[in-house]
């Protein structure tokens, strides 16, 4: 397919590049600005780049408390989302005729607007007298993370050939043994990815947490307030750091998974 006209190739690559620039240039610029010692936003020259604002984060009590709260919520969300998605994926494999319906049921919550899900859940919780806490935020984040975790785990099931399970069964393995000794080791990378993805989705989630967080807000909710109250360089530093960590985690997983995929 290398015989496309030069003009067509130019158009294709230009639009492709435009898309990636739109996605990555602004947050990377923000990351660059966070190394600028000056209060005026702008890229620092390499000689004056500093970690000053990152060191200043240590004094930002409110941000750190929110970060810790978000880490707790993200861990809980990731554990629950990975386990439930594993069950959902196992069900998908077993449900032959109805699997398309099951897929839709699990994935549909992804399309429910965050504001509406957050509002609905928080109103119900308030009316039933359940106090907003880390658990209520997790409840909201679980359904946001599950569709992604489910799809990732489902993709990893491609490594589990039917013939492996049949061979194990012929050798007398029970269903549980087949799962434990054959399926589970093969899908472990998928489970790890699902865990990390769910963790990141939760820690970066804003609109649901906005409604569901109790007295202690999550990091994005606190960041949102500070961004609108006149951004400071420490906000750039915190945002930049969170963005960078997210990118590195997903990038590592994605490259590893894609390289392992058999060549077409």
């Amino acid at each position: 397919m290398t015989r496309d006209e030069p003009f067509a190739r130019f158009v294709v690559w230009t639009l492709t590049l435009l898309g990636f620039v739109a996605i990555y240039a602004p947050p990377l610029y923000l990351l660059g600005v966070s190394f600028n010692p000056s209060l005026q936003p702008g890229l620092p020259s390499p000689s004056e780049a500093t970690l000053h604002w990152y060191a200043a984060l240590a004094g930002e009590r409110a941000l750190l408390a929110a970060l810790w709260h978000s880490l707790v919520i993200a861990t809980g969300t990731a554990v629950a989302a990975t386990l439930l998605s594993l069950l959902a994926a196992l069900a998908y494999v077993e449900l032959h005729a109805r699997r398309a319906t099951w897929f839709l049921v699990v994935v549909l919550p992804m399309f429910v607007p965050g504001v509406i899900q957050g509002l609905a859940l928080s109103t119900i919780l308030t009316r039933t007298g359940i106090k907003a806490s880390a658990l209520t935020v997790m409840a909201g984040h679980l359904l946001w993370a599950m569709p992604f975790a489910f799809i990732v785990i489902l993709t990893s099931f491609a490594a589990v050939r039917r013939s492996f399970l049949m061979a194990a069964a012929d050798l007398g393995a029970s269903r549980w043994q087949q799962f434990r000794d054959v399926t589970l080791p093969l899908i472990t990378p998928g489970l790890v990815s699902a865990f990390i993805f769910s963790f990141l989705l939760s820690i970066n989630e804003f609109t649901r947490a906005f409604y569901l967080a109790g007295r202690q807000n999550t990091l994005p909710v606190v960041l949102f307030g500070k961004m609108n109250a006149g951004a400071s360089p420490t906000i750039y530093a915190m945002s930049g750091a969170i963005f960078l960590v997210s990118v590195l985690c997903v990038g590592a997983i994605a490259v590893r998974a894609l390289l392992r995929r058999p060549q077409r």
Binding site: L87, L154, M227, V255
Partner: protein, 288 residues
């Protein structure tokens, strides 16, 4: 070797319970509550069959927000397709295997980064002292900063496209991956140029991916709020932001009525999309 119904039940039970209790039940209750009436004595709503919430949507120009949300969603989805289609083509047919891996990874990352931070970062780019304005003044194209770049509908559209572009790219990559490149080569050998191949072969074969990409972006934008909150001008709104505003004055019936309409539109679209091209099919070649 089929699993027994009890095994399947055991597997389905927990995830389904989570979806029903945390997802479906609260949304169903909101739909029911949208018909209840406001009760000033309890500062809450009471059982009724009232359309007051829905009638209030027609007041104070709220329906124009719904309309402008649909326009934003439509426009963002179309722009995303224009960028995502070539991207999917480049990844599938032009890039070397190594580059394709890198590009696919770059497409996966945005799903898991913060929409808030990504929207916010556009302020540094589009602001009065931002990159774009500084550049335009440095090269002498303008003498003063352009104001409509930030806190405007333009900024919101840029933010929306940047946020939800991967939702269009992914289904297109999956759809193009299933196109047999021999078919394309055959057309070339018979003398068809790039644009002819695109129009007569590739587009028809990837139509399901185009529909899916359009639908995903449309639905995500229809439910979005962060981009408008971060980049919109004074008074800029979108349905989700309007719900926030209405909730600030505790107007529950109205908030629930708007939510019901949005849910109906979004879930309706997803179900129609699923019925025409099958969401699960997008992932099938990988899952099995």
């Amino acid at each position: 070797m089929k699993a027994s119904p009890s095994t399947i039940f055991g597997l389905v039970f927990l995830p389904l319970a989570a979806i029903l209790v945390l997802g479906l039940a609260p949304l169903a209750v909101v739909v029911v509550w949208s018909f209840w009436a406001w009760d000033p004595s309890t500062y809450w709503i009471k059982p009724d069959f009232s359309l007051a919430g829905y009638a209030a949507i027609l007041e104070a120009g709220r329906w124009t927000v719904i309309l402008s949300t649909l326009v934003k969603a439509l426009l963002a989805a179309l722009i995303c397709l224009v960028i995502a289609y070539p991207t999917a083509y480049a990844v599938t047919f032009l890039a070397s295997r190594r580059l394709a891996v890198v590009l696919l990874a770059l497409m996966t990352i945005p799903f898991f980064t913060s929409y808030l931070i990504r929207s916010f970062s556009w302020r540094l780019v589009l602001g009065r002292t931002g990159v774009v304005n500084t550049f335009l003044q440095d090269v002498g194209l303008t003498s003063a900063p352009i104001d409509w770049l930030l806190f405007s509908d333009f900024a919101v559209m840029v933010g929306l496209v940047a946020s939800y572009l991967p939702f269009a790219t992914f289904p297109l990559v999956l759809a193009m991956g299933r196109v047999d490149s021999i078919v394309l080569s055959a057309a070339r050998d018979l003398g068809a140029g790039f644009w002819t191949v695109l129009r007569t072969i590739l587009l028809p074969l990837t139509l399901s991916g185009v529909f899916a990409g359009f639908l995903f972006v449309f639905v995500m934008v229809a439910g979005s709020s962060t981009e408008v909150q971060m980049l919109g001008g004074a008074g800029a709104s979108i349905v989700s932001v309007m719900i926030n505003d209405v909730m600030r004055v505790a107007n529950y019936p109205l908030a629930f009525a708007i939510s019901t309409i949005v849910l109906a539109v979004i879930l309706g679209l997803v179900l129609i999309g699923n019925w025409t091209f099958g969401l699960a099919r997008l992932f099938e070649d990988r899952a099995q």
